[in-house]
C-alpha cells in the first residue's frame, strides 16, 4: 500500500525549483504532488510523479542528488476535522508523522494527503483498521 516519493536536494537559490520542473517536463514526467521544505541555505523538494524511474534518471543526469522514500497516500474527508481524525488515530497509536502535504487531485469527494510516517507498515494497518482509505501507490501515480 506504500507509495514512493522522490526527494531532491536543492540549494536555496533562485531558479532551482524551476529548473527541476523544467527537467521533469522535458523528460515527459508529470508532477502529481509537490512540497518544498527549506531552511535559509537549502531545501528538500518532495515529489510524487507519474514515473519515478524516468524522473530520477533525468534529475541524476543533471547532477541532482535524489532519493526515494516510502510514503502513504491517504484519503482525507473534505470537511472540518477530516485531517484531525487521521492525525489523532496516528497519535493515539504512538506513530510519528515526520511531515505531510496535500495532493493536487481529489479522490472522488475526498482530498488526498501524503504522509511520511514511521513505522510505515504499522501506520498503514492502523489507518485501515480505522476505516481510513489508504490509496495504493500504483493508483496514486496515475490519479
Amino acid at each position: 500500500m506504500r507509495a514512493e516519493q522522490i526527494s531532491v536536494f536543492l540549494e536555496n537559490k533562485a531558479g532551482r525549483l524551476a529548473e527541476v520542473s523544467a527537467i521533469l517536463a522535458e523528460a515527459d514526467v508529470n508532477i502529481r504532488a509537490l512540497a518544498l521544505a527549506d531552511t535559509s541555505d537549502f531545501g528538500v523538494l518532495r515529489l510524487i510523479v507519474n514515473d519515478n524511474q524516468k524522473a530520477i534518471q533525468a534529475l541524476k543526469n543533471r547532477g541532482f542528488t535524489v532519493s526515494k522514500t516510502d510514503v502513504v497516500a491517504v484519503e482525507v474527508e473534505d470537511r472540518p476535522g477530516g485531517l484531525h481524525r487521521i492525525l489523532d488515530i496516528l497519535h493515539q497509536a504512538g506513530i510519528n508523522v515526520e511531515y505531510m502535504y496535500a495532493f493536487v487531485q481529489h479522490s472522488g469527494k475526498n482530498a488526498v494527503m501524503i504522509f511520511r510516517i514511521d513505522p510505515i507498515d504499522e501506520a498503514i494497518k492502523i489507518l485501515q483498521k480505522n476505516k481510513v482509505t489508504v490509496i495504493d501507490g500504483s493508483k496514486v501515480y496515475t490519479m
Partner: protein, 433 residues
C-alpha cells in the same frame, strides 16, 4: 628601548663569531642526541666536523614539517624527558599536532627574546600589558606572558574571547600595551565602540600584533581605530614561539630576527637553493641555543625576504620583511592554523560525507569566518530537513573538536564546487588583508 644592548647592537663580526660557535655546539648536540639528525647527516656524508663556517650550514639538509610529524610526538627532542619542563603543540597537516618541548633554560631563552620583543615594541617595566593571545597549547599567550614578566611589566593574562569583559578590563585597569592577533585587535575596537568605550580614553600606547598575516593597510586601520602604535611580531612554535623576530617601533619597517638565537635563511622553495638578501623565498630557521627542541634548517613555509641594511633603532640584527604568503595551503583563521587536508580527514572519517568540499574564508567585522561547503551526495542526503541539519551540526562539531576552530557548514548541491582538471578548488580566501 633596547633591552639587551650587548647582544642586540653587537657588531656583525662579533655576532657572527658567536653564532658560529653556537651553531657548532648545536650541531654536535643534535648529532649525538637525535637519531633523526644523525641519520640525515650520515645519509649526506656529513659529520659535525664539516661545519667550519656559517657558509657550511648550506650543506646540511632541510628539516620539514613532515619530519616533525614522522617523529611525533617526542622523537625530535634532544634531551631526556626529565629535563623537559614544558610542552606546546600546534596543528599539523594531517591532524597530528607538531609537538615542541622546552627545558628550563629554553623557557628562560624564550622569555628573554620575548622580553626583548616587547621592549622593541615600546613596552617598559612600568607598563601594564593586556595579553589577549590565547593561553594553552598555542605558544602565543604563555610566550608573551613570560616575556612580560621577564621585562618586569605587569601582565594581565586575559587570553582570547569574552570580548566585552576585556573592554571592561581595558577601561578599569588602564593597560598601556596590547598584545593580540591583529584581527582580534580590530574586533576589540568595534566591541568597545558598541559599548560606548573610546580608545581615545584608554591608555594604550603600543600594540604588538602577530600570529596571523596582516598588511600595512591593516596597520593604519589599527593605529587609527585603537589610537596606538602597532608593530608586527613573528614566531612559530617549532622555532620557539612568539619572539623570533620583532619590529622596532622606531622604524616599523621589517622585523629584527634575534640572530644570537636563530639563524635565518631564504631559499627557493622549489630548488632549495639559498637566495641572496632582498629576494623573496621560503624562510628557513636554525636554532642555536635551544636545548630540548633544536631545529636545523627548518622550513617554515612562510614567504618573505631579508633586509641586512642598518636600522635607525641601532639594532644590528637582520630584518625580515612582512610575511607575504605561504608555500603550502595553510590557512590561519583567528590565529589557528588550518590545513584543508585536516578538514578533509574530518569529512572522510564520516561515512556519509563525500570528499568534495570547499573552504571559504571571509573576514567579517574583523573576525575571520570559515565556511565549509560540503556536497550532498546520496549517502548524506535525507528527505528530512532536520536530519540534514543534524548532519551539518555534526560536521561542524567534528571540525571544532578536531581543529579547534569554529566553522559554519553549508550543504551544497553536487558539482557546485568547481573542479579544475579533476582536482577540486579547495580554498577561497576572500579576506582583504
Amino acid at each position: 628601548m633596547i633591552l639587551d644592548i650587548g647582544f642586540e647592537t653587537m657588531p656583525r663580526e662579533d655576532l657572527e663569531a658567536i653564532v658560529l660557535r653556537r651553531l657548532k655546539a648545536t650541531i654536535d648536540r643534535v648529532y649525538a642526541n637525535v637519531p633523526f639528525y644523525r641519520k640525515k647527516f650520515e645519509e649526506n656524508h656529513i659529520t659535525p666536523n664539516d661545519i667550519k663556517s656559517l657558509e657550511d650550514l648550506k650543506r646540511i639538509p632541510f628539516t620539514t614539517k613532515e619530519d616533525l610529524r614522522d617523529n611525533y610526538p617526542f622523537g625530535m627532542f634532544a634531551v631526556p624527558m626529565d629535563n623537559v619542563v614544558r610542552i606546546h603543540a600546534s596543528s599539523g597537516t594531517t591532524g597530528k599536532p607538531t609537538v615542541v618541548g622546552y627545558t628550563a633554560r629554553d623557557i628562560n631563552t624564550w622569555a628573554e627574546v620575548m622580553a626583548r620583543s616587547l621592549a622593541a615594541g615600546g613596552a617598559t617595566r612600568g607598563d601594564i600589558i593586556h595579553n589577549a593571545y590565547g593561553y594553552g597549547l598555542f605558544t602565543g599567550g604563555l610566550g608573551v606572558h613570560y616575556g612580560a614578566e621577564k621585562l618586569g611589566a605587569s601582565v594581565i593574562p586575559v587570553s582570547g574571547g569574552n570580548t566585552k569583559r576585556q573592554v571592561v578590563i581595558m577601561k578599569d585597569f588602564g593597560p598601556t600595551i596590547l598584545t593580540a592577533t591583529p584581527s582580534y585587535a580590530l574586533h576589540l575596537s568595534e566591541v568597545a565602540e558598541e559599548m560606548g568605550v573610546s580608545f581615545e580614553d584608554l591608555k594604550f600606547k603600543f600594540g604588538i600584533f602577530g600570529a596571523e598575516p596582516w598588511s600595512e593597510n591593516m596597520r593604519e586601520e589599527i593605529e587609527r581605530q585603537l589610537n596606538l602604535t602597532a608593530v608586527d611580531i613573528y614566531g612559530l612554535s617549532e622555532v620557539i614561539g612568539p619572539g623570533v623576530a620583532i619590529e622596532c617601533h622606531e622604524a616599523k619597517k621589517g622585523l629584527h630576527i634575534f640572530e644570537d638565537h636563530f639563524i635565518p635563511e631564504i631559499i627557493d622553495p622549489g630548488t632549495g637553493e639559498v637566495l641572496p638578501y632582498g629576494e623573496a623565498g621560503e624562510l628557513v630557521f636554525t636554532t642555536i641555543t635551544k636545548e630540548a627542541f633544536p631545529v636545523i634548517r627548518y622550513r617554515t613555509r612562510d614567504i618573505t625576504s631579508l633586509n641586512p641594511e642598518p636600522c635607525i633603532c641601532g639594532r644590528t640584527h637582520i630584518r625580515m620583511n612582512r610575511v607575504t604568503g605561504r608555500t603550502d595551503d595553510m590557512l590561519i583563521i583567528r590565529g589557528v592554523n588550518v590545513f584543508p587536508s585536516q578538514i578533509e580527514s574530518v569529512l572522510m572519517e564520516m561515512d556519509e560525507v563525500e570528499p568534495y568540499y570547499q573552504l571559504v574564508v571571509d573576514r567579517k567585522d574583523n573576525l575571520d569566518t570559515l565556511t565549509v561547503l560540503v556536497e550532498v551526495g546520496e549517502r548524506l542526503f535525507s528527505d528530512e530537513v532536520k536530519h540534514l541539519q543534524d548532519r551539518e551540526r555534526k560536521i561542524a562539531k567534528n571540525i571544532k573538536d578536531y581543529l579547534g576552530v569554529s566553522a559554519k557548514v553549508k550543504l551544497v548541491e553536487p558539482k557546485v564546487i568547481a573542479r579544475s582538471q579533476g582536482k577540486a578548488v579547495r580554498v577561497i580566501d576572500n579576506r582583504k588583508i
